[in-house]
Structure formats: structure tokens, C-alpha cells
């Protein structure tokens, strides 16, 4: 089953899509030994693409600065823009991983827990992208979109916890139980 879900989710876009419409499948695939590390690179790529498409004016400014020979200024502008956009997701990823690991009890696996949180945060980024597109049409739904994004991701965090608690106990713990 794990092999099947991993095979089916072999493409980055499919895995992102699965986190949105088939979260259990995405979480299962992410938590499997063959899927490890993929969801963290998936969310990283999505976040970076979001920075590129949402902060185009900064790239334009940085381009001018490079043209003027101000490489340091261009770098600073891009870094500050990226930092503004990435700081909250990074905090949520780290805090979410710690919480998930604590709640997973003896079934915790730090790296896999981090991967599960990466899947859980995908809706937050996706909703932000939808909001940015809708805002282009002149609709200001910032509060609603923030509420949807956070609630959606919180729901996925619960599913992630379920997934983490479904893991088999490590041999040592299982023996102790016996």
C-alpha cells in the first residue's frame, strides 16, 4: 500500500495536490520509509516559488541594483523579501514538529514528524496563493483566507498526529511492552 501510494505520488505537483485533496494519502506517503524527506523539499520548493511569484517587484528592484553595480544591496533586498515571506512558515514548521513529536509519544520519529508537518502546512501556502490571486481581482478577503488557511492546516495537523500514532513501535519499546 505504501509502495503504491509512493509510486502514485511520484510527481511534486501530485504530492502538493494530494496534501490538499487527499491528505491521508499524502501523509501516509510522507511517513513511509521511501517517502522520507520528500515533503520537506516539496514545501521548500512551493515556498520559494511563492516568493518568486508574489515578490516580483523585489526581483525587479534587485535587477536594477545589479545593473547599478550594487550587488550587496540587491542581495539584501532579496533576502529581506524572502525573510518576510518565509519566517512564519519556518516558525510554524519547527514549532509544529516539536508539538507533533511530543504528542506522538513513544512513536515519535523527529525527521518523519517534520515531514508530516510539512504536508500539514501545504494548505496554508496554497490558500495564501489563492488569496493573492483573488486580491488581484480587487477582492479583499485577507481575514477569511487567513482563517481558512490556519484551520485547514490545523485539521491536517490532527491527521498528521493520527498518522504518527499509527507507526509501529520501535523494537526496543515493543519488547518492553511484551
Amino acid at each position: 500500500m505504501e509502495v503504491e501510494s509512493n509510486k502514485a505520488l511520484s510527481h511534486w505537483l501530485t504530492r502538493i495536490g494530494a496534501a490538499l485533496v487527499a491528505p491521508r494519502l499524502a501523509l501516509r506517503a510522507s511517513d513511509s520509509p521511501t517517502g522520507q524527506g520528500r515533503s520537506s523539499s516539496d514545501i521548500t520548493l512551493l515556498l520559494l516559488l511563492a516568493v518568486v511569484v508574489l515578490k516580483t517587484e523585489l526581483f525587479s528592484m534587485a535587477g536594477w541594483m545589479v545593473g547599478d553595480g550594487d550587488y550587496r544591496g540587491a542581495f539584501t533586498v532579496l533576502m529581506v523579501g524572502a525573510r518576510e515571506h518565509l519566517i512564519m512558515p519556518i516558525i510554524l514548521l519547527l514549532a509544529g514538529s516539536v508539538v507533533l513529536s511530543l504528542l506522538a509519544g513513544r512513536r515519535r520519529a523527529l525527521a518523519s514528524d517534520f515531514d508530516l508537518v510539512c504536508v500539514a502546512l501545504t494548505p496554508l501556502v496554497a490558500v495564501e496563493l489563492v488569496h493573492a490571486l483573488v486580491a488581484k481581482a480587487g477582492l479583499d478577503i485577507h481575514t477569511i483566507s487567513v482563517a481558512i488557511g490556519y484551520s485547514w492546516s490545523a485539521a491536517l495537523m490532527l491527521l498528521a498526529l493520527q498518522q504518527a500514532r499509527r507507526r509501529p513501535l520501535k523494537k526496543k519499546d515493543a519488547t518492553a511492552n511484551d
Binding site: 502514485a8 505520488l9 510527481h11 511534486w12 505537483l13 501530485t14 504530492r15 502538493i16 495536490g17 494530494a18 490538499l20 485533496v21 487527499a22 494519502l25 499524502a26 512551493l46 516559488l49 511563492a50 518568486v52 511569484v53 508574489l54 516580483t56 517587484e57 523585489l58 526581483f59 525587479s60 528592484m61 536594477w64 541594483m65 547599478d68 550594487d70 550587496r72 544591496g73 539584501t76 533586498v77 529581506v80 523579501g81 496554497a126 496563493l129 489563492v130 493573492a132 490571486l133 488581484k136
Partner: protein, 186 residues
Amino acid sequence: MTEVKRSIRAGWVIAAILGGLLVLNGGAAVRDCQSLRPVHEGEPAPDFSIPSIAASGALGPSFKLSEAKGEIIVLDFWATWCGPCKASMPVLNGIAQTYADRGVRVVSVNTEGTGAAQKARRMADRLAPSVDLVSDTGIASSLYKVNTIPHMLIVDREGTVRWVHRGMGTTAQLRKDLERAIEALL
């Protein structure tokens, strides 16, 4: 398998949204390309008029850049929450004291709006009492395309931008760079 099909579809929707935003925002960036160009060396300094912050922390008479023609103006955009800005303030204070009698004026532009005037005054009194403090509600920051702070510029006696500095290296390097730029204009 239905789940996989739905996932593929959702993935393509996300790709389409990313593509749409790239076209819309990228198009706007290309269209407004000229207006996005940061103020650079050799360009006439955009004029602005913003309130000064008096010793009491209340808003005082306006500072108008064009009225300072004939002086060398060091503009420093900063905020009270910005660590590197605070670190650079004693350097600017030293510059203000060293070059005061040679027609150099340091104008410290607080970018947090008039509501932060009291706080800005307290901080400036502690770290850079010799600089002129002004309060910006976004007018000067947007004219100079200030996206990152600290952001410093030197405007010569004719009103032309001669030096631009973004971010913060070491205070020693900043002092050296400022002194070199000012000496070249004296």
C-alpha cells in the same frame, strides 16, 4: 486511484495559480520597471517634506530636503525595532559631531510614522543626540524605495545623491565608508 487523480488535478490547479500570479505580478513589475528603480548615485535626490521630532518628542516644524541645499545631507532611514539601525546610530552621531562645522548634517528618518515619535526621540537621545530627527509616514521611504533598513544616502550640496548604502556590515566599516564618501564631497 480516484484520490490520485484528484491529487493530480489539484496539483495542476496550484501550478495554474502560480503561473497566473507570475504573469500578473511579473507583468506589473515589467510595466512599472522604471518606477521600481531604487534611487541611485548620480540621480537628483527626490524632495520631501516631513515633520521633525522636537526634543520633547512632539512633532515639530517640517524638514524639507530642498531647503537644505548647500549642505551635505546624510539621510538615514531607520526604525526603533531594527537592531542594525541601533548599532549604526552611534556611528552617525560621531559623523554628525565630526563634520558639523563643515556643512554636513545627519538627518535620521524614523520610518514608523508619527505614532512612534516619542519612542524614536528617546532612542535618538540615548544613541545619537547630535542628529536631526524626523518622522516619516511613508512619504520619504516610498520616494527613496526603502525596502530594507538601515538605508543610508548622502546628498551633496547641489541635491544629487552621491552615496547609497543598504543593510549593515561592521560599524567600523560603516564609519570608514561614510567618512570616505563625505570627504570626497568636501
